[in-house]
């Protein structure tokens, strides 16, 4: 599994775990799939758990000023954000 596939799989699992969505639903996400606000399970209360768990699983730190509305807008945006954090 390439690093890219690995990150993708781990992000999907993170979303499934934190938001409580079915694996099947998460597997169907593509870059354009809308997340925050579009998925009922993903509301502002979910963000705290999502960011903190993300830091833990990927061994990264996410500052408050890195978090804007856009990173949760679509799965593609979320992936790109994670990708940049994990590499950098």
């Amino acid at each position: 599994m390439s690093d890219r596939d690995d990150l993708d799989a781990r992000l999907r699992k993170l979303l499934a775990d934190v938001l409580g969505i079915e694996d099947g639903q998460v597997a169907a996400f593509d870059r354009d799939t809308e997340l925050f606000g579009a998925i009922p399970e993903f509301d502002s209360m979910s963000i705290a758990g999502l960011l903190t768990e993300m830091e833990d699983r990927f061994d990264i730190e996410i500052d408050d000023d890195e978090v804007d509305g856009e990173i949760f807008e679509t799965y593609g945006n979320f992936y790109d954000f994670a990708d940049q954090k994990v590499d950098g």
Partner: protein, 228 residues
């Protein structure tokens, strides 16, 4: 007796608090559960009770305490200290003649009662617990048009009480929780393997019979191996 559970009080630091228990009165193995904190308590309480019921069926007594300032406690969070919590766990352990301690999430920061082996489910440091609380508050602030950061709250908390998730944190408690860490000790272990999806991260309270069964099995095995 309600559904196999009995409700009593135990002498915690600061006054009597609720203790729920199940299982044989004369059980050889008596496990004291140290609960997760704040919202995670709401999310896991039913699953912990299910776990206790399953342990009871295996002849193991389980005891779940309210910490001062949590759940049904009459105390305000403002009156609480980490040391007071740790003391409450020790008082409860003595009160019920506990043979083992099982902590969940941030309960791990106060589960190191002297002389009792402890088992941890997904231990969470005080710093990470604070991150969760601060982030939730920052997100709620944003919804209300307020732009604050976690660092803003940390700065405020140095000099005054701050409100996170509707609860008042004194400067002392804020800093104690931020610095709290699960103690590393030879007889304290973290449960390994898959206990199912992390219910403590969900925003909706739920319950999992599957997680309860897995926890009961793990605790049964571990407590048998670590009988004093």
């Amino acid at each position: 007796m309600t559904g196999g559970f009995r409700y009593d009080g135990y002498p915690a630091s600061g006054g009597v608090e609720l203790i729920v228990h199940a299982g044989p009165v004369d059980a050889e193995r008596r496990i004291l559960f140290v609960p997760p904190l704040f919202e995670e308590l709401n999310r896991l309480r039913r699953t912990m009770m299910l776990t206790m019921r399953r342990l009871a069926a295996r002849g193991i007594a389980g005891f779940l305490i309210d910490l001062p300032g949590q759940n049904e406690s009459p105390l305000d969070l403002g009156a609480v200290t980490i040391e007071g919590w740790r003391e409450s766990v020790t008082l409860a352990a003595r009160n019920i003649n506990a043979t083992h301690v099982a902590s969940i999430r941030a309960g791990a920061n106060i589960d190191d009662t002297p002389g009792l082996p402890a088992w941890r489910l997904a231990p969470l440091s005080g710093a990470k617990q604070m991150n969760l609380l601060l982030r939730a508050q920052v997100a709620a602030d944003k919804q209300n048009g307020l732009s604050r950061t976690r660092e803003d709250y940390r700065a405020m908390a140095r000099g005054e009480a701050v409100i996170l998730g509707g609860k008042t944190f004194s400067p002392a408690f804020f800093s104690q929780l931020s610095e709290a860490e699960p103690l590393a000790r030879e007889d304290i272990v973290t449960g390994e393997g898959d206990f199912g999806p992390p219910l403590w991260l969900r925003t909706e309270p739920g319950e999992s019979a599957d997680m309860a069964e897995k926890m009961a099995t793990a605790l049964d095995q571990w407590s048998r191996q670590t009988m004093p």
